[in-house]
């Protein structure tokens, strides 16, 4: 199958420092690709470029063959690209339900006049979004707190909420930036299951994660970054044995853990 997301020679410089330098790889529909590397390797910067928040200084991003480099984030969302954030970006004053409902924004018709007068088209939109959002909350097991404000919820719950909101867009490709960070083992297992399920439904997934057990278990393909450059790429088993990767990131202990996870 051909690539859905195709990144070629992507790079960005901040005042002379190359945070990401000439990175290329591809993600196919239904495939889980992970980006790993030490802190400061440029993983989140890479995500920010793909999702249109940063303008790359070199290279290209293609979605389904179409050049989407540096396109406005809200237009990318329209093309089916959705993401979560390492440091949660939720709407604290809104309820969990509303947080997911705004994820449906693109399928709602948000026109200010019908909305002011609560015309039937506007109310229908709201009802449809609420139904969909509730179903998504149920999927991440947050439906019980649907009417609570997001700011009152625990970190692990908010991580799942953000995934639910990203899924509300019905994306073709989902970028997850450390979805399991700060989550306990049970929550991590839940997120793991959720990601696999989403991928199985045909969504391409690009994952940044430090939990190596999780990464090795669910990824089809791993890209390793260090100092902004791609130092290795391949199947989990290959990457875990790569001496350069071990030196830069995994360490001996990490490698043991990884090989253990494979068995």
């Amino acid at each position: 199958m051909s690539a859905l997301l195709d990144i070629s020679d992507l790079g960005i410089a901040f005042g002379g420092i190359k945070a990401v330098d000439g990175v290329s790889f591809a993600v196919r529909p239904g495939e889980i690709v992970s980006v790993i590397g030490p802190n400061g390797a440029g993983k989140t910067t890479l995500f920010n470029m793909i999702s249109g928040l940063y303008r790359p200084s070199q290279g290209q991003v293609r979605l389904d063959g179409r050049d989407i480099t540096a396109m406005e984030p809200h237009l990318l969302a329209r093309l089916g690209l959705s993401r979560t954030f390492q440091n949660l970006q939720l709407f604290g004053d809104m309820t969990l339900l509303e947080n997911v409902m705004v994820g449906h924004h693109l399928r709602e018709r948000a026109h200010v006049l019908p909305d002011l007068f609560a015309l039937s088209s506007s109310r229908r939109s709201t009802r449809a979004s609420a139904d969909n959002a509730l179903a998504l909350l149920r999927r991440v097991r947050l439906d019980k707190g649907a009417y609570r404000e997001a700011r009152a919820m625990s970190y692990g719950a908010l991580k799942r909420l953000e995934i639910a909101r990203a899924l509300a867009l019905e994306p073709r490709i989902l970028l997850l930036d450390e979805p399991a960070a700060g989550c306990n083992a049970v929550e991590t297992a839940e997120i793991d299951e959720l990601i696999a399920e989403v991928a199985a439904s045909g969504v391409a997934i690009l994952l940044v994660e430090h939990d190596m057990k999780l990464v090795m278990k669910i990824s089809a393909h791993i890209v390793v970054l260090d100092h902004g450059r791609k130092i290795a790429e391949g199947a989990p088993a290959e990457v875990a044995r790569d001496p350069q990767v071990i030196a830069a990131y995994l360490g001996q202990h990490g490698q043991d853990q990884v090989l253990h996870a494979e068995r």
């Binding site: 709407f91 200010v112 939109s125």
Partner: protein
């Protein structure tokens, strides 16, 4: 059956408006009430702009000025009937907000505050200096709306204060209904989302500049209608209506009562309108008190009076 919060808010508003005259010791209070509602209209617009969308404006009195002077000038120079002059002013305000809003809403925080401040000052300078049209600092007379005459022909004799009390109340309740509709609508959720996190709003497909602009234009229309009603009630208007202090008043009323709640903001408008009218001592120190109120609310009740009270009550119930 449980009442939706939207209808509960409206019900409370209607009941208070309808019941208040029972306690009026004199006809003067109808005027105070009308003034409260007229400010309540402008403040509801601030709720949409500041409370929903999280954008500040220190120049919305400028739009009130446009609404007010449209009622004074459009009937004279353009032969528009006084009632239509309200719509004319609103359209003019909306058009100006649309044009100016595009570039300045790219600014954030203080910068947006200063830019809107500049806009407000510019409008009030024009009103002040184009004396051959606007009458300058002395103000200008406003043609009669003709409502009282109409009612008299129908055999109803209503005092001016009383009439404006009900007219302003009606418009304010209509405005509150619209704002409450907006809150729980696709546009309202988009506004509240970009308020919470602009980055996240963009990545879920919200066209942030477009929605900010809509909030700015809608709030400008509220301010404009408020200015129009003020002009037609007083039958005389001075450039003060577009002045900086009036802009600050709008923001302070909204922030005092609770800027993210329509009912709260109207509550704030009630307090800050009624006090200087009822206590003349207060009137002399009004500007000082406005500043003080702003500081105290920001420190002790950042959510505003009404939401803080409700939260405290709710907290007690849950304990």
């Amino acid at each position: 059956m449980q009442l939706k919060p939207k209808y509960l808010s409206l019900l409370i508003l209607v009941l208070l408006v309808a019941a208040a005259p029972l306690f009026f010791p004199s006809g003067f209070y109808y005027r105070v009430g009308a003034l409260i509602f007229i400010n309540g209209i402008a403040v509801t617009g601030m709720v949409i702009l500041i409370g929903y969308a999280g954008q500040i404006s220190l120049g919305h009195a400028g739009f009130a000025g446009i609404g007010a002077y449209s009622c004074a000038l459009a009937p004279v120079y353009l032969n528009i009937p006084p009632v239509a002059a309200i719509a004319f002013g609103a359209a003019l305000s909306a058009a100006l907000a649309w044009v100016v809003g595009r570039p300045i809403l790219k600014l954030h925080g203080y910068y947006l505050g200063v830019a809107t401040l500049g806009l407000g000052i510019l409008i009030s300078m024009v009103l002040l200096n184009e004396a051959q049209w606007t009458g300058g600092p002395d103000g200008i007379a406003v043609p009669d709306l003709g409502l009282r005459g109409l009612l008299r022909d129908m055999g109803l004799r209503v005092g001016a204060g009383e009439l404006w009390y009900w007219v302003a109340a009606l418009v304010m309740i209509l405005g509150a209904w619209l704002a409450l509709n907006l809150f729980d609508s696709p546009t309202g959720r988009a506004l509240r989302a970009l308020h919470g996190s602009e980055v996240a709003a963009r990545t879920i497909g919200i066209d942030v500049p477009r929605h900010k602009l809509h909030a700015f234009v809608v709030s400008a229309v509220y301010a404009s209608v408020s200015g129009s009603l003020l002009a037609q009630m007083n039958r005389l208007i001075t450039p003060d209506v577009a002045g900086f202090m009036h802009s600050v008043q709008m923001v302070t009323m909204a922030v005092l009562g609770g800027v993210s709640s329509v009912l709260g903001a109207i509550f704030g408008a009630t307090i800050l309108t009624a006090l200087p009218q009822l206590l003349t001592v207060f009137h002399q120190y009004e500007h000082m008190v406005l500043g003080l109120v702003m500081i105290l609310v920001m420190i002790f009740l950042p959510d505003g009076l009404l939401p803080s009270i409700l939260k405290r009550l709710k907290g007690r119930n849950e304990e």
